[in-house]
């Protein structure tokens, strides 16, 4: 099965979900997590991950801080804020509604 790039607008949802489970990830780790957890099916386009992170940060859903890794390199790690948790809830329920609706259509047709 070919890897798909199109997360269909669900990148925000995935990032929020992952960060809510495992706070304090940096960009590369988030990307790896998406790949690993989706069984290598979903893959965030590396370049578009950062604008998405920055957009969510400006929206106040996630917050960022700089840490220094053991390699001496600085990394920017993210965690979900209270507003982000609320947003995640809303996105999740929206996702469920949409997928169940799509599933219904697939069954009926």
């Amino acid at each position: 099965m070919p890897k798909t790039d199109s997360l269909q607008g669900s990148l925000d949802l995935l990032v929020l979900k992952i960060l809510s489970r495992r706070p304090g990830l940096h960009g590369y780790a988030i990307m790896s997590a998406i790949e690993a957890m989706s069984g290598e099916v979903l893959r965030a386009e590396e370049g578009s991950l950062y604008p998405a992170l920055h957009r969510m940060e400006e929206a106040g859903w996630i917050s960022a801080e700089w840490i220094t890794k053991e390699t001496g390199r600085r990394a920017r790690i993210y965690q979900v804020t209270a507003a982000g948790a609320k947003q995640l809830e809303a996105e999740e329920s929206r996702w469920r509604t949409v997928t169940s609706a799509v599933n219904r259509v697939l069954r009926m047709a």
């Binding site: 590369y28 386009e45 370049g47 940060e57 929206a59 390699t71 600085r74 920017r76």
Partner: protein
């Protein structure tokens, strides 16, 4: 919070870029650590620069960021050319500041509504009349009985309010040794209620405080006066003061003239007479003129009820006023029907008085408007200058712009870049202008009115002024910045980079602006010339007397005192060292006092020409150095009514130029009473009340007057005229003040002024206009000169190749000079012609500000021409020298 962080990020843009870069860097390093191929990882990531820009635009406000970058860039551009930038900022700042100052003055005097509830429904009543010389005139004074009838006539539609002309009076709180000055205004008791004003303390007047003549000895004082005089002490309520005797005629309220302070007016309200801050308000019923139907001592304001149209009210007022005057004329004078009809041909008009009504407004409306226009022209000249500067700079930067377009800058982005640069300049100019306006507006106000009684105008720097300044700066920035901006964005990069853009289009714009500058400059010079000539002629007008070394001592007595006491004081003053001559008069010439009456010769009906009267003592004419032409001066035994001395104009007007000595006339005073006078002397003409007026017929009568039963009438007020031997008469002022009180302790000297000061006070407006107009003329000339210099210099630099070639093939210096300047000089000629036309068109609006100066005088026209010509020559000289000095060899080699 999010917007705020995005705005805040604009100010740390570089740091932001570094952060994003570092994050991306970490990402790639991580990828390599995990064993990915570095090249593959980089390719998978895509364009890092684009990602950075994307993230940047998310994390800050992009338009603000580009604006910030442009501002920084603009500032660097300004810094690069320090001298030109400073010149542009200073000239523009001066112009913006002057405009803002002019607006502050005009706003404070003419536009700003009074702080009352119904300012927009407030109107001032005046009568349009035909003056004796046939010209239309206007008069805003009313007699109280007439006011009363008019008020009743429009009841229910409008409330009429009487307010006297504010006057400066003597006031004493304890003893007469502590006499002070205060501005007094008599107002209708119901005024405060009609204006919706509430007292700051105590109570304000009501209708009940203004019912019976002389029966309401109460005063309301202004907040400003309360603070200044009483230090805002609440105990000021209940304090009593005595009004120094000030009235010519003992009125109904003459009594002991003691008033009790009952309240403090609200802080913002300073009376209805804009330009004067009223200290004390008294009810109109306390004015001695309240019962006289021929004493016009007050203005009438009308506060229209909501929804009432102006015209019907005006018509009613007009009819009532007409009936009153017609009734008054009946049996008053034996006039012909035509003369009465001529006198009654008055029309009542209502003018909006939202900003109050004052003589200062009437005096300065035209003058300020003219100054406002001059200032506006200077501003436009400055704008044209800066526009030319920016255009020249844009030319120098054409390659930079072309490069920007080639690498993908949008047109709009370029417009923004140039406009922001203009705005940076405008901002600094506005800051300089604000400083100038802050200083200059109060300076000009302080120059209005004589120094001992300056005009007082509230000049708050509030949102009106700020808004004006801001709008002006914005407008100005667009004005000088838009053309260069559009030009910059409209260029074609190919042609420009190839080095062959069309220089003529740019030069055409610059030359057009030069024509505009010269036209405005000519107009400013022309108008300034008119004002200066007016002031010059007015201040050199012969007054008919000698003001040199003369002091006038306005003196009051606590109670009216017999004439002998006054003589005693004069006699005492004559004995003092340093005193040459002493005379006594009811008031000083040009001091503001005036009394006029009709005159009847041989019992005939008066001819409609008013004669002006003044009571004087023996020796007064000599002290004033008014020449005695025939007959004699008054003698100690002369009394009024009886003897009179007339001037030449009087003799010409009423005695057909014959020797009047020995002849008789009647003066017709209140209620048509005839007072017989016999002329004992003829003196030279002198200006009487106003130096602008033509010489009027004057008659002097003795200071000592007798009543109906032959007893001498006591007098409460007079002015000693003292001619001193000292070149500086004021050196004697304090001695004279002391000696008057020593001669008769009941007498007190109020104002001491030199007669020269009184003469100068007459020309304050003309002096002010001439001074300011001259200042702006110099600025305009300077700016236009600099502008022309800049344009010529620029065109020489741009055409140096062409000039070099011409010189190489044998062109003469004169030929080169002509070529370089011909086009610009043509523009100067066009500009001057347009300026001349504008000047001619402006004359009708200026005529009321001029005095015996005609715009068509050759001198008035030639002078601006010559000045502009000289300035043009001077401005062209450096450019011409530069052009002629071009060395063709070096030039062509450099190319």
């Amino acid at each position: 919070m999010s917007l705020w962080s995005r705005v805040a990020n604009v100010w740390r843009g570089d740091e932001l870029s570094r952060e994003i870069d570092e994050e991306i860097e970490t990402h790639l390093a991580e990828a390599v650590e995990r064993g990915r191929d570095p090249v593959e990882a980089r390719r998978a990531f895509g364009s890092r620069l684009r990602r950075r820009e994307e993230s940047r635009d998310i994390r800050l406000v992009p338009w603000l960021d580009s604006l910030r970058a442009d501002v920084v860039f603009g500032w660097r551009q300004l810094k690069k050319k320090k001298v030109t930038s400073a010149a542009a900022i200073l000239s523009l700042g001066l112009a913006i500041g002057a405009s803002t100052a002019a607006f502050r003055l005009i706003d404070a005097l003419l536009l700003r509504p009074l702080p009352v509830a119904n300012a927009e429904r407030l109107y001032g009543l005046s009568r349009h009349v035909n003056l004796p010389d046939g010209k239309p005139g206007s008069f805003d004074g009313w007699a109280y009985p007439s006011f009363r009838q008019m008020r009743a006539a429009v009841k229910g539609q409008a409330e009429l309010i009487a307010v006297s002309y504010a006057e400066r009076v003597d006031v004493t709180y304890r003893t007469d040794l502590e006499m002070e000055k205060a501005h007094l205004q008599y107002v209708s008791g119901w005024m405060f209620g009609a204006f919706g004003l509430r007292p700051a303390l105590g109570r304000l007047f009501t209708e009940n405080d203004d019912l019976k003549p002389g029966a309401h000895p109460y005063a309301v004082i202004s907040y400003d006066y309360w603070k200044r005089r009483f230090g805002a002490d609440p105990n000021a309520i209940g304090r009593k003061f005595r009004l120094g005797s000030k009235e010519l005629f003992a009125g109904p309220g003459a009594g002991d003239n003691v008033y009790e302070i009952v309240g403090i007016a609200p802080r913002p309200f300073t009376g209805t007479e804009t330009g004067t801050v009223t200290d004390i308000f008294l009810p109109t019923m306390m004015h001695p003129g309240a019962v006289h139907d021929d004493w016009t001592w007050m203005r009438t304001l009308a506060s229209l009820n909501p929804g009432v149209a102006v015209e019907p009210v005006r018509a009613k007022l007009n009819a009532t006023s007409y009936a009153f005057e017609a009734n008054r004329m009946k049996g008053l004078v034996r006039w012909s029907k035509q003369d009465i009809a001529k006198f009654l041909a008055q029309k009542v008009v209502l003018d909006p008085a939202a900003a109050g009504a004052s003589g200062l407004q009437a005096d300065y409306r035209r003058g300020l408007a003219a100054l406002g226009v001059l200032v506006g022209l200077v501003l436009l000249i400055a704008c044209a200058n800066v526009a030319n500067l920016m255009t020249a700079q844009a030319a120098a930067r054409a390659r930079e712009m072309a490069l920007r377009v080639s690498i993908g800058a949008g047109r709009w982005r370029l417009v923004q870049l140039v406009l922001v640069e203009s705005a940076v300049l405008g901002f600094f100019a506005a800051a300089a202008g604000a400083l100038f306006a802050w200083w200059s507006a109060p300076f000009v106000v302080s120059r209005i009115n004589p120094p001992d009684n300056p005009a007082r105008l509230a000049l708050p720097a509030d949102w009106r002024v700020l808004g004006f300044g801001l709008a002006l700066t914005l407008g100005v920035t667009l004005l000088f910045g838009l053309a260069p901006a559009l030009r910059a964005s409209g260029m074609k990069p190919i042609t420009t980079l190839r080095g062959g853009s069309d220089p003529h289009a740019r030069r055409r714009l610059m030359h057009g602006l030069i024509a505009v500058q010269v036209a405005f400059c000519f107009l400013v010079l022309f108008v300034a010339g008119l004002f200066v000539a007016t002031f010059d002629r007015l201040s050199h007008r012969p007054t008919g007397f000698s003001a040199e070394r003369v002091l006038t001592l306005d003196t009051v007595a606590q109670q009216p005192e017999p004439p002998a006491f006054w003589d005693q004081v004069a006699e005492h003053l004559r004995t003092l060292p340093g005193v040459e001559k002493v005379g006594l008069a009811r008031w000083a010439l040009l001091g503001g006092g005036s009394w006029n009456n009709w005159v009847s010769v041989n019992g005939a009906a008066p001819n409609g020409v008013l004669a002006f009267f003044l009571s004087v003592s023996p020796g007064w004419a000599e002290a004033m150095k008014i020449p005695l032409i025939a007959g004699r001066d008054f003698r100690p035994g002369d009394t009024y009514p009886g003897a009179a001395i007339v001037n030449e104009t009087f003799a010409k007007e009423f005695f057909h130029g014959e020797d009047p000595v020995g002849k008789s006339f009647d003066m017709i005073i209140f209620q048509g009473r005839r007072v017989p006078c016999r002329v004992v002397g003829l003196v030279g003409d002198a200006v009487y009340r106003d130096i602008h007026d033509p010489i009027v017929p004057q008659a002097y009568y003795p200071f000592a007057s007798v009543g109906a039963r032959g007893e001498l009438q006591p007098v409460d007020q007079g002015t000693f005229v003292v001619r001193t031997s000292d070149a500086n008469p004021l050196a004697l002022a304090s001695i004279l003040r002391r000696e008057v009180a020593r001669a008769r302790p009941e007498f007190r000297v109020g104002n001491i002024r030199t007669q020269a000061e009184l003469v100068q006070a007459q020309t304050i407006r003309e002096r002010l206009l001439a001074m300011l107009a001259m200042f702006f003329a110099v600025v305009a000339l300077l700016l236009a000169g600099i502008g022309l210099y800049g344009v010529l210099d620029y065109s020489v630099v741009e055409r140096r190749r062409e000039i070099g070639i011409r010189m190489a093939i044998g062109a003469q210096a004169g030929d080169i000079a002509r070529r370089v300047t011909a086009e610009a000089f043509g523009m100067v000629a066009v500009g001057a012609a347009v300026g001349f036309a504008l000047g001619m068109a402006s004359v009708p609006y200026l005529s009321s500000l001029l005095w015996e100066v005609h715009a068509t005088d050759p001198g008035m026209l030639v002078l601006p021409w010559l000045t502009v010509l000289a300035a043009t020559m001077l401005a062209a000289l450096p450019a011409v020298i530069r052009a002629v000095r071009i060395d063709p060899v070096t030039m062509l080699r450099a190319e």
